[in-house]
Structures are given as C-alpha cells and as structure tokens.
C-alpha cells in the first residue's frame, strides 16, 4: 500500500544525507557526524514537541473551562512557552542546606535521560528508526521503569517531609501501574508474534490493531491509556504533585532549570507513552484505509507517514489532557486498589483471550 511513487518519503532525505556523508568524509568521521546529527535532531524534536505540548495543554485547558488561554505573548499566545522557558532559565537554583547534594543534582538528569533513551526504537516513518532492535517494545518498557529511581532520589534528597511523602506515593504508583501497562502491551505482542517495533507497524498494513484484534485490542487500549496516565503522574492520578494537598510533592524544592528538567521529562514521557500507544494500537505510520474505497485510499496515501504518526500521537496526547481537566483526583489507596483489584485481573484475562484468538485465528 505504501508504494506510491509520488508520495513523499522522509527516508529519501535521510538516505541521501547518509550517502553524502560517507562519500565525502572518512568513515570514522562520517559515523561521528551522523551520530551527532541524530543526537541533535532528537533533542530538537523533543524540545519542540515539549514546547508545542505546553502550549497545547494551556489552550486545551482554557477552552474546556470556557476561557481563552494565553493570548498576549506572540500571535495567539504561541510565544508563551518560550517566555516560560526563558524565565525558568533565569531563576536562581536553590539547594536546601541539609539536602544530599549529589543526589539532589543528579535526579533531574536521570529522569530526563531515561525519557530520551526511550525514543530509540520507535519508528517515526517508513525507514526512519534510530535503532531497529528485535526487542524494541521490551526495551521501552524496561527503560521507562528506571524513571522511578529518579523520582525517589528527588524526594529523598530534598530533606523535606512533603517531598518524601510525595515521592513514596509516586514510587508505589508507578511500580504498580507498570504491570498493567506491560500486560496490555503484551496482548498486542501476542497477536503480532514479535517484540520488534518495525514488525508491529508493518503487520498493520491491512488495518490497525484496534480494528483487527477487536475485543482484546480495545480492552488493552483502554487499560493502556489508563495505566499510562497513572505512570506519568498525571491527573486523575497526580497525588504526587497534588497542589491542594502537599504543595508540589517530590519536586517542591526544585527551582529554575532543574525544575524545568522535571517538567520536560514529564512531557517527554507523555509523548513516548502516546507514541507507543499509537504504534501498537493505532497503526504507527500506516495510513487509514477503508477496504474497497480506492479513491479514498489514494488520497490517504498522499499524506506522508510521518504526518500520520504525529497526528495519531497528538490525538492520544489530547485524550490524556482531556482526562486531566475533567476528573477529580483519586486517593492513594483507591489508586492502588484500582490497579491491583481491577486493572490487573482484567489485563491478565485479556492476555488469555488474545492468546486464544491468535491460536484460533479469529482476528482479521
């Protein structure tokens, strides 16, 4: 289906750059240049999407609350995020006197580094993938689990009762919800038969998994969204940074650029989780086909894969933001009860159903 010669392929540009580099420079230098280029482009991607998401969050929140969002700084308030970043950069970084200095300084970097690491195996467009490894999905789940260490470090090293309480709650929450997230991902992996991200996307060429694997895929999708929202410490599971209860939770004592790194890592994690959801359930960079309508499919082919991918990701991001501005917060014991008594049994049963359907061949 992705074989239309007039379609724009991002992989053409990247292979062009690759060949140019290897033709003109020695191979060691070309490799270094390529690595640098990839690193810079990933950082740019993350920063640009973080700024877009900050603006989007404020505007979405405003429109749901019948008011305008930021609309003074820049046209329709688009430069508001830039102004916020400038402000955070210029603030004084205050370290509490009795804090554990090494851990206090290390925590934001750990959390941000983990978010960047999770971007490696994701397939943005046909041919664009940083690291095509055969355990892609497992790698992403494993790496995002390391983030909880950063949260606990931040809470402990702040030497503050509130931060410690918040970090403990957050740690318990993230560790519990990883189980459900992992099991819901497993339902799709069972139906595909491979952990590699590329295989999963290519297997959706004849339809997205949310349509093909009917009941188990839909249940897995819902559980995945709920578990991801909980892992990201976002409302309605945001006890760790509940403003009305414990001021700001584990990042109370952070200011300036270190706070900005926590902020950045939260948005990047949200982006990574939505990218994973879009890859597994909504087809990655595959366009949306309706079997039989050739004209429609032809039009869908024109839109390049990368636009499809980002469109799907941003719609999942919008869904998670929608949750934040509608629901009240859950208490810590209700949160854990939800996971262990409701989500985990349902996801285990779901994996069984998915395995049964794969064996019997009842998916499309």
């Amino acid at each position: 289906m992705v074989n239309n010669s007039e379609q724009f392929h991002l992989v053409d540009i990247t292979t062009g750059i690759h060949e140019w580099l290897y033709a003109n420079l020695s191979s060691g230098l070309a490799l270094t240049a390529e690595l640098l280029l990839v690193a810079v482009s990933m950082i740019t991607l993350v920063v640009v999407t973080a700024i877009i998401m900050v603006y989007m969050e404020r505007k979405v929140a405003a429109f749901m609350q019948i008011r305008l969002g930021p609309n003074r700084v820049g046209f329709w308030g688009t430069l508001q995020a830039v102004a916020d970043v400038l402000k955070l950069m210029m603030k004084e970084i205050v370290t509490p006197k009795a804090a554990d200095r090494f851990l206090f300084a290390l925590a934001p970097f750990l959390v941000t580094a983990v978010s960047f690491m999770a971007l490696a195996p994701i397939s943005f467009a046909p041919g664009i993938q940083l690291w095509d490894v055969n355990i892609g999905v497992l790698y992403i789940s494993a790496v995002t689990s390391i983030g909880v260490i950063g949260v606990l470090m931040a809470g402990w090293s702040s030497n503050n009762k509130y931060s410690l309480l918040g970090a403990m709650r957050s740690g318990a929450q993230i560790v519990s919800y990883e189980l459900s997230a992992g099991l819901s991902v497993l339902a799709i992996v069972v139906m595909v038969g491979s952990l590699s991200v590329n295989d999963i996307v290519v297997s959706q060429a004849n339809g997205w998994w949310i349509f093909k694997g009917h009941i188990p895929a839909i249940i897995a999708f819902v559980i995945f969204i709920i578990a991801s929202t909980a892992e990201l410490n976002r409302a309605p599971f945001d006890l760790a940074e509940a403003e009305s209860e414990l001021t700001a939770g584990f990042h109370t004592e952070y200011s300036g650029m270190k706070f900005a790194m926590f902020f950045l890592s939260e948005y990047t994690n949200m982006f990574v989780a939505c990218m994973l959801g879009a890859t597994l359930f909504l087809g990655g960079w595959q366009p949306f086909y309706i079997g039989g309508l050739d004209g429609f499919n032809h039009v869908m082919d024109f839109i390049p894969g990368i636009i499809w991918f980002f469109g799907k990701t941003f719609s999942l991001v919008f869904l998670i933001m929608w949750f934040r501005w509608t629901f009240p917060r859950l208490r810590i014991d209700q949160l854990l009860k939800l996971e262990w008594k409701y989500l985990l049994p349902i996801s285990i049963v779901n994996v069984l159903i998915a395995a049964f359907i794969t064996l019997a061949g009842w998916h499309f």
């Binding site: 409302a235 009305s244 009240p328 917060r329 810590i332």
Partner: protein, 375 residues
C-alpha cells in the same frame, strides 16, 4: 467529652510527625492553621490555630452608631453578606419595635435567597478544585457571575453590598431586576443537570466522598453545629422553619434532612438546598408587593435599654446577633454567634482516624469561611 467514634490504631508511636497545613495553603479556604499529627497516612490529631484574620469587629462596633455597624458584618461571612446585614437590621428593628413595609420584606428575602444560591455555587466550584477537578470551578463562577451582575445593578456592589439597613432597603429595585432574575432561575435549572454529570455522578468523586468523614448526631448536638452539616446528619435546625422571620412562614419550601452524615450526603444536601432556594425565588419574583421600600427612622437611632437577640439562617448555619444596649446611640456590647466557629469544631471528630487525602475532602464539604471564625 467522649466522642462517639474514635477509630484509631496507632502502629508505631515513635513514628508520628506533625505537619502544619499552614496559614497559606491552597485548600484551607482562608487563613487557617492546622497542626496535624500524622502516623504515616493516618491522622491522629488535629489542632486548629485561629486568629490570623481577627480584626476586632465586635470591639469596633462599640464605637459606631446603629446605622453604621452593618457594613462590618458584610466582611465577616462575605459569601452571605446580605443575610448578615439582614440579621443586623432585624436586631435593631426588634429593639425599636418597628414594622417595615411588605415590599421591603420581600426584597430582603429575595436578596437573601439569591445570596444563598451564589454561596453554594462558589462552594461547589471550590469543592471540585480541592478534589483535583479544576474545570467545575469555572462553570460555577459563570453562573455566580450572573447573580452578581444582578446585585451590581440593584445594590451597587457585588460582594459587600451594605444594601439592607434598619428600616428597609437602601434603594428600590432596578427595573431590570425581575426579568433578569427570572432568566437566571430558568437557566440555573438546566445547568444543575450539568453539575450532576460533572461531579455528582462521577465514580471517582463518589469514591472520594462516600463513607468519609461521618459525623454522628450526638457529636453534633454536643458541639453546637448547625447548617447543612447538621441537616445531613439528621438534626432539624433550619431557623427559617423553627423561628421564622420576615415572612418565611408564608413560603412553601422543604427543609432537607438526611441521616447518613458523610461527605457525600452533605454535598447532596447543599445541592438540594440550592434547588429549594430557586423554588422560593420563583414563588416571590412575580408577587413583589408595591409600596414604600423604606421606613423612615430618626437620624440618630437610640435603642431602649435591654438585650436583644436575633437569629438568621446564613448559607452555612445559624448566625446569632446579641445586642446589649444601655440606652445610648451606640451598642454597649455586640456579640456574634457565628456558624463557622462552631462548625470548625466538627473537624476533629470527623478527621481522626482517616487519611490525609480525606482531610481535604472533609474540609471541602464543611465549607468554612475563615474570616467568620475569627471576626
């Protein structure tokens, strides 16, 4: 005094620590300092620390004349400003044994019920905000804004109106008052359905408030708690029904009672009270009698020697105004029995034994206004 539900199990007594939910905190509805003794997540003891906004209203009133002291009461419980002013005006009229015209009585009741609706709307919005849902705040304020605009047109101000004085009301109703209020009441009935969809029926909200902060009837009688909190536990204490004033005896409305006494019931009781207030306004808005809106009083009012007491029902409970006069033109002693001062005492029996997340839900349904506690 033995409280009826101490449900404490302290696991390790040397692991207790004290947290200050300090005077500046996003969810204590004012400057209230609570010292909470915690054992992990469980609350062992709560000690409120008052006095951060004490302005000496009662002492200042001893140097003001009988026409002048009403403006200070608007600043006590600022969300039921009209009702506080009504109480003061009634106590002075009781002392003078003055009859006020019918039109003034009906206008006063209309303003009081509109104030009650506006106060409960703000309470609803702040409740959502405390529990983590930010959006209901804006929806509540959108409706409240329309009521405040009606106040602005007639009384001149939105929050501290000083419109009800001894003798009647200060100015006549604006000609746009009646059509606007009718429109607001019709819209409010639809928007209350939206309130139900957004918070009342929401499973997260129900789990957060059901079974939390149960107050038994014996506790509340011994602590002197009035208002929607008492009515949610089964005590019938509406002043408008038990000692009606100013024409409430002629109106048809229900006193909302319930028996469970947990936070969810208090929430439902307040929503029902809003509906009853809407019903009262609808009964009166088409039948405002014509006539004078104010009875002339002397330029300097002198009350005869004696003690006078008047109780009114504010949005939060029973406000009592006790006036001792020595025959002069200024009150000798003025004492306010404010509902929030007694309702604050309900915090301790409700909170002990529950978790810190419940503390916020309980305080949100208690609906305290701190300037009313330390006037």
């Amino acid at each position: 005094m033995e409280l009826t539900n101490p449900k404490l199990e302290v696991n390790e007594p040397d692991e207790e620590f004290v947290i200050n939910v300090g005077p500046q905190h996003p969810s204590t509805h004012g400057v209230l300092h609570l010292e909470i003794k915690l054992d992990g997540e469980q609350v062992l003891d709560v000690k409120p620390n008052l006095g951060y906004i004490h302005r000496g209203i009662e002492k200042i009133s001893e140097s003001l004349s009988y026409k002048q002291f009403t403006y200070l009461t608007s600043r006590m419980d600022y969300l039921s400003a009209h009702i506080n002013n009504q109480g003061c005006a009634l106590v002075v009229e009781k002392g003078l044994e003055m009859e006020i015209p019918e039109r003034a009585k009906v206008i006063r009741i209309l303003m009081a019920e509109l104030t009650r609706i506006a106060s409960h709307q703000l309470w609803w919005g702040a409740l959502g905000l405390d529990l983590g849902a930010v959006s209901p705040f804006f929806f509540a304020f959108r409706e409240r804004e329309e009521i405040l605009e009606v106040f602005e047109e007639t009384c001149g101000y939105r929050l501290t109106m000083n419109y009800i004085t001894p003798g009647g009301v200060m100015q006549d109703l604006h000609p746009e008052f009646v059509p606007k209020v009718k429109k607001i009441m019709a819209e409010l009935k639809n928007t209350m359905k939206e309130y139900d969809r957004l918070l009342t029926g929401n499973i997260i909200f129900q789990k957060r408030t059901q079974g939390v902060g149960i107050l038994t009837k014996e506790d509340l009688v011994s602590l002197g708690i009035t208002g929607p909190i008492a009515r949610a536990s089964g005590l019938s204490c509406d002043v408008r029904k038990h000692s009606p004033y100013e024409g409430y005896e002629k109106l048809d409305f229900k006193e909302i009672l319930a028996t469970t006494g947990d936070s969810y019931t208090r929430y439902l009781v307040r929503l029902e009270e809003m509906k009853q207030s809407i019903y009262i306004v609808e009964q009166l808005i088409d039948n405002i009698p014509e006539g004078p809106y104010r009875e002339k009083t002397k330029a300097v009012i002198k009350l005869p020697k004696g003690e006078f007491y008047q109780k009114v029902e504010t949005a939060r409970g029973e406000l009592g105004i006790y006036l001792v006069s020595d025959g002069g033109s200024k009150p000798y002693r003025l004492k306010y029995r404010t509902p929030n001062f007694s309702n604050l005492q309900a915090l301790k029996p409700m909170v002990i034994g529950s978790k810190i997340g419940d503390l916020v839900a309980i305080m949100a349904t208690l609906d305290l206004i701190i300037p009313d506690i330390d006037r």
